[in-house]
């Protein structure tokens, strides 16, 4: 992943976009698109859909760039748009069909066959054990509420700070900490035999 650019440099491009310079949006897109796709993937679970969601989010961000006041970082503001677009996309998709864990077979990564362990010949028993644990983890994740699950994913998978998560999920810092605590505790209790 690219090293985070200093905030000042983002602000410079944002101001040029707000002045009507479309091409000034390019460095902002290239700097943040990878994380945007990853955040979307954490919600929608399909890479193609995650790219579509990220594209729509960047489009919306550009259309609303004059609304960006600079009170938060551009990246946090952008990721909030990505996150909300991903949640909307997931809700619409879930309304169209029942989503079961088996549909994750369509993803690039299957929870039962983690990419990092599929070809491991060194310790197949450990690989099988880890695969089964991850399958159990997926089931346990589905028992959490959407809010708890997303806060956990933003923290563990995207590596965002509590403050960033609070801005993206638009909830108080205390709520982020509370949801994280509850989610981890619930998973620890459910997966006790695997940990």
């Amino acid at each position: 992943m690219q090293k985070a650019r200093p905030v000042d440099e983002d602000q410079q491009w944002v101001e040029r976009c707000q002045a009507g310079d479309l091409d000034a949006f390019e460095p902002l897109v290239k700097q943040h698109y990878e994380r945007a796709v990853r955040i979307a993937y954490g919600v929608v679970r399909r890479q193609e859909d995650a790219v579509d969601v990220a594209q729509n989010a960047f489009l919306k961000a550009y259309q609303k760039i004059s609304d960006f006041s600079g009170r938060s970082r551009f990246s946090t503001w952008l990721y909030r748009i990505v996150f909300n677009q991903a949640l909307d996309y997931k809700r619409k998709r879930d309304r169209r069909k029942v989503v079961s864990l088996d549909t994750s077979e369509e993803d690039g990564q299957h929870p039962r066959e983690p990419a990092a362990l599929v070809d491991s010949a060194e310790n197949p028993r450990e690989a099988a054990y880890a695969g089964e644990m991850e399958a159990q983890l997926e089931r346990a994740l589905e028992t959490l509420s959407e809010e708890h699950r997303q806060v956990l994913i933003l923290r563990e998978v995207q590596g965002l700070s509590y403050e960033e998560i609070a801005e993206i999920a638009q909830c108080p810092l205390g709520t982020v900490m509370s949801r994280l605590h509850h989610a981890r505790r619930a998973l620890r209790e459910t997966l006790a035999q695997w940990l």
């Binding site: 479309l22 949006f25 390019e26 897109v29 290239k30 698109y33 990878e34 796709v37 990853r38 993937y41 954490g42 679970r45 890479q47 995650a50 790219v51 990220a54 594209q55 960047f58 489009l59 550009y62 259309q63 690039g108 990564q109 929870p111 983690p114 990419a115 990092a116 880890a130 644990m133 991850e134 983890l137 997926e138 956990l152 994913i153 923290r155 563990e156 998978v157 700070s161 509590y162 900490m177 994280l180 605590h181 981890r184 505790r185 998973l187 620890r188 997966l191 940990l195």
Partner: protein, 183 residues
């Protein structure tokens, strides 16, 4: 340790794992970890959960490349977005005037239709006829533009006749005659 204390400790340890503690709080958490095996196992469990989540929910490689992503996005940025309906009215005064005119026309038509309805003809006999033991009758006469109404009450032993006529001013006049039954 009671439940509340356990929860507070758990929150502290999770925040330590996430690097979200002040220097003082970090020292406190590390002291707890150093002195308690159960706390160390708990943090280890949270680390394993995090690692599994990153394997199952993370993307190893993001496709497409940054250039392809931008090339796909750029044409959409230059396409003008559809403004909201209220903005269309604001920016095109002709649309606002047309809409206001149409609304005014609808209101005027509704008012005009309301005035076409005829006022109800007064029917005094209808009220009297509802009284018990009363008889009200309209009697045909040979007098033009005149209506004769008879009211008879057995209880009051009373008969009243009204002759309604339309005078030149359009008002209705009434002449009555009462008679009581003797004996």
């Amino acid at each position: 340790m009671n439940e509340q204390q356990d929860e507070q400790t758990d929150r502290l340890l999770q925040a330590w794992l996430d690097g979200e503690l002040s220097e003082e709080q970090r020292a406190q958490a590390e002291s707890l970890l150093a002195s308690n095996e159960e706390h160390r196992q708990r943090v280890e469990a949270y680390e394993k959960i995090g690692a599994s989540l990153r394997r199952t929910r993370g993307l190893e490689r993001v496709e497409p490349s940054a250039d392809k992503f931008w090339n796909r996005l750029r044409p959409q940025l230059s396409r003008p977005s559809a403004p909201p309906w209220w903005r269309v009215l604001w920016l095109r005064p002709a649309y606002s005037l047309a809409l206001a005119g149409a609304a005014a026309a609808v209101i005027l038509v509704a008012l005009w239709v309301g005035t076409l309805k005829e006022p109800p003809v007064p029917q005094p006999a209808a009220t009297l006829a509802s009284e018990p033991g009363c008889l009200v009758d309209f009697i045909e006469t040979e007098v033009e533009d005149a209506t004769l109404v008879a009211y008879h009450s057995e209880q009051d032993d009373l008969t009243v006749l009204w002759l309604f006529t339309d005078n030149d001013e359009g008002a209705t006049g009434a002449h009555s005659s009462t008679e009581r039954q003797s004996g």
